[in-house]
C-alpha cells in the first residue's frame, strides 16, 4: 500500500467509495432473492400462515352479517389474533422460514458460491438478502393483517365505517402494520444472523421462540431483552392475560412508543452488522454442511 493511501482519512475513503455501484449491486441481489422468495412453492407455508386467519375472520364476518355483532368484542378478538397468532406464531415462524433460508438454504442447495464468486462485497449480500427477506415477509404478513382488519369491520356496515374512518380504527390499522413491519425486521435480522452461526438454525430458533414465549413471566429487566416486549408496547389494543398466565405475568414498566420503534430498529441494525462481520469469514464447504 502506498504512503499516500495510508494517509487517506476514513472520511476520504468513505467519500471515494463506489456508493452507486454498491447500491446497484445490493438492489440486484434483492431483486434476484425476491423472485426466489415470492414466486416459488416454498413460499406456500408463509402464505398459509398469513392468510388462514384472514379466511377465518372472513367466515366470521359472513356468518355475523345476519346476526348481531359486537364491535368492542371483535376489536378485542382482532387484537388477540394479532398478538397471540401473528406476532407469536405466524410472523415468527414465517420469518424463521424466510430468513434462515436466505443463506442456509443456499448452502443446502449448494448454490451460495455463485454469490461469493461475484465481485460483490459480502456485506452487500447480507443487506441485499435482508432487504428481500424483509420485503417478502412484510408483503405477506402485512397483507394478512390488513385482510383480517378489513374483513373484521367491513361486514359491520355503517358502524364499521364509523369506527374505522371517524373513530380509532384507522389508527389501530396503522399501528398493526407498523408492528408487523418491525416484527419482520427484528425477527428477520435475528434469524438471518442465526443462519450464519449455526448449521441447523432451527434448534436455536426454538430456544428463541421459548425465550420470546415466556417473556411475560420473566422479571422486568429480562423482558426488555426480547423483541416481543417492544412490539407489545406498540400494539393499539392490549390483550390482558387471563387464567394461569395472569397469575405468573409480571407487568413491566412500559416504554414509550418512539423508544420501542428506535430500539427495535437499532436491534435489527446491530444484528445485521454482526451478520455482515460473520459473513466475511464464511467458508464454502458444502460437504461438511
Amino acid at each position: 500500500m502506498s504512503s499516500s493511501t495510508q494517509a487517506t482519512s476514513p472520511r476520504d475513503r468513505l467519500a471515494a467509495a463506489p456508493w452507486q455501484l454498491w447500491l446497484t449491486q445490493t438492489l440486484n441481489v434483492a431483486r434476484i432473492e425476491l423472485r426466489k422468495n415470492i414466486l416459488t412453492r416454498r413460499g406456500f407455508g408463509s402464505y398459509l400462515l398469513a392468510f388462514l386467519p384472514a379466511l377465518a375472520v372472513f367466515m366470521h364476518g359472513y356468518v355475523s352479517q345476519h346476526g348481531v355483532c359486537n364491535l368492542d368484542e371483535d376489536t378485542k378478538v382482532l387484537a388477540g389474533i394479532f398478538q397471540l397468532y401473528y406476532l407469536r406464531l405466524a410472523v415468527f415462524f414465517g420469518c424463521m422460514g424466510i430468513f434462515t433460508w436466505l443463506f442456509r438454504g443456499e448452502v443446502v442447495e449448494k448454490s451460495l458460491h455463485y454469490y461469493f464468486l461475484s465481485p460483490v462485497r459480502r456485506e452487500l449480500l447480507v443487506i441485499g438478502k435482508f432487504i428481500a427477506g424483509a420485503a417478502t415477509s412484510i408483503l405477506i404478513f402485512g397483507t394478512g393483517v390488513f385482510l383480517c382488519f378489513f374483513f373484521m369491520y367491513s361486514h359491520m356496515g355503517a358502524r364499521g365505517s364509523e369506527f374505522v374512518f371517524r373513530g380509532p380504527g384507522l389508527g389501530q390499522l396503522w399501528s398493526y402494520m407498523l408492528v408487523t413491519v418491525l416484527a419482520c425486521l427484528g425477527y428477520g435480522a435475528v434469524f438471518l444472523a442465526l443462519s450464519l452461526i449455526f448449521k441447523n438454525p432451527v434448534l436455536p430458533g426454538i430456544f428463541f421462540l421459548g425465550w420470546e414465549g415466556i417473556n411475560a413471566v420473566l422479571p422486568s429487566l429480562l423482558q426488555k431483552i426480547s423483541i416481543t416486549f417492544y412490539l407489545k408496547n406498540l400494539t393499539p389494543v392490549a390483550v390482558a392475560p387471563d387464567g394461569l398466565m395472569a397469575l405468573f405475568t409480571v407487568v413491566a414498566e412500559p416504554v414509550r412508543p418512539w423508544v420501542a420503534v428506535i430500539g427495535l430498529l437499532l436491534l435489527a441494525a446491530a444484528v445485521l452488522v454482526f451478520a455482515c462481520f460473520r459473513i466475511r469469514y464464511f467458508e464454502i464447504s458444502y460437504s461438511t454442511d
Binding site: N28, I32, K36, Y114, F116, P119, E283, I284, Y286
Partner: protein, 313 residues
C-alpha cells in the same frame, strides 16, 4: 502489478484433516494444469485461490489482489467450480444474466455479454430452458459460460471436462486453447491427462495435499531422474544406431521397433544422447528421420511421480 498467482507457504486444514500443506507456487500466465488423484488437494487449492475457503496458514495473491477482496478479484477472475448445482428454478439465461447484473452492469450490458458467452458454449437455443432439465454436459457448459461471461483475465476451471461427450469435449478444449491464445491465465484441474497434456503450458502435480512437482512439462520430466527418459528415433538403420548407443553408460535400454524402422532408447541423460545423435548424423553414418521424446507428457510424469494408485511413487 504481478500477473502471477502466488502461494506463500499455504496450508489448509479442515479440522484435523489435511487439505493442502506448505504450498509454495508462483503460477505464470498461460495454461496451467493441476493434476493429481482424488483427494490430492486440487479443489482445495482452487477454492483457496478464489476465496471460497481461507488458508489456515500462509498467504495467497492473485495478480496482486487478495482473495479476501472479492470486489476487486472477481472483476478479473472467473471460476467454474465442480459443484453441479444451480440457483433454484434458474434458466440457463437467468443464471448467466443474473451473475452479470451482480457486477453492477446495466440490463443492456449484461444482456449483450450473456448472449455472447452462451453462444460461445453453443447453448443459445437451450438458454431459455430451466437448468434442472439440462444434461450434465449442458450444465457443465452453462457454468463455463457464467465463468467467462464477464471477460476475466484469469479463469479457474475445476474438472471442466467432466460429463462432456467427445464432441463437446473437443469443442471445450478448443475453447480453452482459444482463451489461452487470447492471453488468459487459465488454471485447469482434470483427470483426463491426455487432454490436459495437449493444452497445458505448465503443470502442478499434487498428491496427498502436497505439491509433488511443478513447472513446464519437459522441465518436470527432466527432474524425474529415477525414470530414464524414453526417446523414439526413426532412422534407416536401427541396428547400427543400437550398436552406437549401447556403448554409452547413460543408455539403459534400447528396443528396436517391430516395423524395423526405429529404436526406442531409454537414457539417464537426454542431453548427452542428443549430442550423440547429432554426431552420428553429421558423420553420415545413417539417416535420421525423426526424434521424439516418448514420455515427457503429463501422463508419464503422473505415473512416475504419483503412480497409478494415486500414492506418491
Amino acid at each position: 502489478m504481478s500477473e502471477h498467482i502466488i502461494f506463500e507457504n499455504v496450508s489448509k486444514f479442515y479440522g484435523e484433516v489435511l487439505g493442502v500443506n506448505r504450498v509454495n507456487l508462483s503460477l505464470a500466465p498461460g495454461i496451467t494444469s493441476l493434476v493429481g488423484p482424488n483427494g490430492s488437494g486440487k479443489t482445495t487449492l482452487m477454492n483457496l485461490v478464489t476465496g471460497l475457503i481461507f488458508p489456515t496458514h500462509g498467504r495467497i495473491q492473485v495478480a496482486g489482489v487478495s482473495p479476501n477482496d472479492p470486489e476487486q478479484m472477481f472483476r478479473r477472475v472467473g471460476y467454474c467450480t465442480q459443484f453441479d448445482s444451480f440457483p433454484r428454478g434458474a434458466t440457463g439465461w437467468d443464471f448467466v444474466y443474473n451473475s452479470l447484473r451482480l457486477h453492477g452492469l446495466t440490463h443492456a450490458q449484461a444482456k449483450s455479454l450473456a448472449e455472447e458467452a452462451i453462444a460461445r458454449v453453443n447453448l443459445t437455443e437451450a438458454a431459455p430452458r430451466k437448468v434442472a432439465g439440462y444434461s450434465k454436459g449442458m450444465r457443465q457448459r452453462i457454468r463455463l459460460a457464467q465463468a467467462i461471461a464477464h471477460h476475466p483475465t484469469i479463469l479457474v476451471l475445476d474438472e471442466p471436462l467432466n460429463g462432456l461427450d467427445p464432441l463437446a469435449r473437443a469443442e471445450t478444449i478448443a475453447l480453452f486453447q482459444a482463451l489461452g491464445k487470447e492471453g488468459l491465465h487459465v488454471i485447469i484441474s482434470s483427470h483426463i491427462l491426455e487432454e490436459v497434456d495437449r493444452i497445458s503450458d505448465s503443470v502442478v502435480l499434487m498428491s496427498s495435499g502436497y505439491v509433488v512437482a511443478e513447472g513446464q512439462i519437459r522441465d518436470v520430466r527432466r527432474e524425474v531422474k529415477d525414470h530414464p527418459m524414453q526417446i523414439l528415433v526413426r532412422c534407416s538403420n536401427p541396428g547400427l544406431l543400437a550398436s552406437h548407443v549401447f556403448a554409452q553408460n547413460h543408455v539403459v535400454e534400447g528396443k528396436v521397433n517391430p516395423d524395423g524402422k526405429g529404436i526406442l532408447v531409454r537414457t539417464r541423460d537426454a542431453d548427452e544422447f542428443y549430442l550423440l545423435l547429432n554426431k552420428i548424423a553429421s558423420d553420415g553414418l545413417l539417416n535420421i528421420d525423426a526424434v521424439a521424446p516418448a514420455d515427457d507428457d503429463v501422463n508419464s510424469i503422473y505415473q512416475y511421480l504419483i503412480g497409478s494408485d494415486g500414492g506418491t511413487a
